[in-house]
Point group: C2
Chain length 263, copies 2
DNA sequence: GGCCCTATTCGTACATTGTACGGAACAACG
DNA sequence: CGTTGTTCCGTACAATGTACGAATAGGGCC
């Protein structure tokens, strides 16, 4: 239908793309973030304050106006440092990637690849706990910034030479990251629901009761009813997503172990 | 800090919560979607048209105004059928869950649990391919609707009695869904980038070249450079996320197999 | 020191979003 | 033919990202 209808907005007067300029975004990521402007503002400062804001109030509360307000500058001033909001979130994400490990060989120093992967998963999990907005970013993974590349390298090192092909190494890491991110999303969703419906889970059962009734009394869902029961008990007791993640990781690593023939 | 500061907006004049009413949302999901209004409109029709729109133009283009326009009704008319946009997307998602299997025993009929899980993963993957917006929804998983519960039950059945506890069954399924959704996100991200930067990937390498140079010439990232190379080759060749998913699934299932002691 | 030019700052404006509000049109019932 | 309650929807509002261009400040050159 309107497959290409949205391509030419402006008359394309010379510059190729006024809005999305991937080259500029990349240059920004890899460039210097500490060169101050006229009023002493730096990209780094913007990114840090924005991160604080997102940590405290969630990604939904992260608006250019709020960031500018917190920094005590005009809203549009931010745009002389950063092309747009997407680039800001990219910067925020990439910066965090630099905080994961103390040095590029930390995971490898675990010795066994399995321990290394567990460390990697744990660090990423903790990062997601500290920064709930990380898992909410629209972009599945942020643009390729220096810290992300560093992280990639750091996490690949303990896998190098254990018997996996390059592509398998990448696939394994990707799957682990997917697991962690997925668990983080679930975790934050539950957390938010818990504090949205406020106080006791007494009330939670009241609103959910009609559905649960329909669920249980009908034998349409025999297995779901029973498992949902167990899961519900577990859920209220502790952090279910973390258990799920641990379980999935074990399975994944056992699978790797089998693929490698033996430990 | 502002933990509870945002609780009381309005004077709370009687009705508990004017905006987020989980009970109503749940009732909506489980209620009838075919009762027509004055002008013959039904919830089902709204949901279907909205789904078409999201399929064709992406989640970003899905606005209440557009949906109403397509349906030929006033914008606010939608609000007499659906409490808000979130509920609409919940309805859309839940409806799709009903299209996954022909009957509640289809996966179980595969015989072996491994084949069943592969079928389950494949179906969910195909669904994500058909509806890119599904993986973009903010809510990690939609609200508990009838079709989602049905799907849950259907997918649990082949796992029942093979030697896993209820919680393990749930965790396994959750992890598989996470894998699929993560792969879908990556897939759609690559797809979008490919058609955003338009025509040849010639140009892609031009914009990405400076970064890649910095990446390769520095020996800061020895492993990442090499693996990224392999991965880049693979990426251009075919659908990398799908391969990654297949790989991760195999590992996961091998892990399950080991846990069960033997096939 | 004085002046000009360029890069930075940012007030205003606009398009777009979800949706609250309340009047208008309509159906059913007496 | 009212009356009443439901459904429809035009208008309005607050919030968003950001384009535009006027004000402004700083730094180099005479």
């Amino acid at each position: 239908m309107s497959q290409k209808a949205a391509a030419d907005d402006k008359k394309t007067d010379g510059k190729p793309a006024p809005q999305p300029d991937p080259a500029r975004s990349l240059a920004l990521l890899w460039g210097s973030h500490t060169r101050p402007g006229r009023n002493g503002l730096t990209i780094r400062a913007i990114v840090e304050k924005a991160t604080e804001l997102a940590d405290a109030e969630g990604l939904a509360a992260l608006s250019m106006r709020r960031v500018a307000e917190v920094l005590g500058v005009g809203t549009m001033t931010l745009y002389s440092y950063v092309p747009g909001k997407d680039d800001l979130t990219d910067l925020m994400a990439d910066r965090l990637m630099g905080t994961l490990y103390s040095d590029p060989d930390e995971p490898k120093r675990c010795g066994h690849w399995r321990d290394a992967l567990l460390l990697i998963a744990e660090r990423n999990w903790q990062l997601h706990l500290k920064h709930p907005w990380l898992a909410e970013l629209v972009r599945p993974r942020p643009r390729l910034g220096p810290n992300l590349v560093q992280k990639y390298d750091t996490e690949l090192r303990p896998l190098d030479g254990i018997g996996l092909s390059d592509i398998e190494m990448d696939a394994l890491l990707t799957n682990i990251m997917t697991q962690v991110e997925g668990a983080a999303r679930l975790h934050h969703r539950l957390e938010r629901e818990k504090q949205d419906s406020a106080q006791t889970d007494e009330e939670w059962w009241l609103t959910q009761a009609p559905v649960l009734d329909r669920l249980l009394d009908a034998q349409r869902f025999p297995v779901a009813a029973r498992v949902g029961q167990s899961f519900g008990d577990e859920t209220k007791a502790a952090a279910a997503p973390e258990m799920t993640l641990k379980f999935g990781l074990e399975l994944l690593l056992d699978g790797v172990e089998k693929k490698l023939g033996k430990t």
